[in-house]
Symmetry: C2
Subunit: 159 residues, 2 copies
Amino acid sequence: MKLSNGVEWALHCCVSLTQSQAPVPAGRIAKLHGIPSAYLAKHLQSLSQAGILRSTPGPAGGYVLTRAPAQITVLDVVLAIDGPEPAFRCTEIRRKGPLGLGPEKCRTPCAVSRAMAVADSAWRAALKGITIADLARDIEADSSGSAMGPVRQWLAATG
Amino acid sequence: MKLSNGVEWALHCCVSLTQSQAPVPAGRIAKLHGIPSAYLAKHLQSLSQAGILRSTPGPAGGYVLTRAPAQITVLDVVLAIDGPEPAFRCTEIRRKGPLGLGPEKCRTPCAVSRAMAVADSAWRAALKGITIADLARDIEADSSGSAMGPVRQWLAATG
DNA sequence: GGAACAATACTCGGATAGGCCATGTCCGAGTTTACCCGG
DNA sequence: CCGGGTAAACTCGGACATGGCCTATCCGAGTATTGTTCC
């Protein structure tokens, strides 16, 4: 199991976008993070489709957060990039083989599937309990309050 | 993010192996579950390397659980098949770009990495709280106590 | 009859191809801006 | 000087190659069995 690389990028981008009220182009935010701009655009597109970002075309266009950082959970971002499907998908092994159960016995998910679903729920609950605002605050605290300011200035600077 | 298909197979195989004290060949347990035998062998090999199963070569050989089902957690099986690495791997984005932090500022994991680690821990804790014995008991309960018996007989039957 | 030996059959184990999804990239559609021209 | 029109530049959006990992498979190394042969 490996999580898409774009998840990390998307989270950092959302944190950085909290520092700009004006739209930020994909190329600019990509350069800020030192990541390939064309590929990041693809992920920002996913965030836009998920309703996390709002895109404005044309000059002075770019991406903006659609709502307050405290209203965007990490889970929202992860699901937007990685897809809403759970990591584990039951292939109904119990119905196969010489001792396969009939469909009437398979109304409820099997025990294995339920166990994985419980773990998946715990994972999502943990991600849902953290917001972009929390991340921004933690990053600010890690740098003793000298991280977000330069980002805000860099995004506001023209060029 | 997609979990390897072999995880489901491995869990079902471990549950079935609780019903046999004698070694069960890979081909036989594969036929029981209606899955490709050659590919399952690869996963059983992983379980063997992880110390969950013990393999015995030669005629009347096969795989046996190394310890009591209550001592084998679902997490053990998942890690054996899927690998011990967490799903999220931090690429240290904060060190890149024009505002990249110096190495002296990156002694501790970044906030994004920590958030994902917390979720990963929750996921693993949930999986660690369920054992193969629990799964076997639940499957038995789902079928009103008529699932494990036939499996035991089918595995014991020759041919 | 018993024991040692050799051949056999069956098992696991690692090395080997193929398919699908994530990665990485590109160019076209749409929109705002700025400039230019006419009144 | 002001307003309208046009051209341009910049943006996003989706369509297009590429690589790596999961899937799937095979054959060789090793071992317990079994049959045979000799004492």
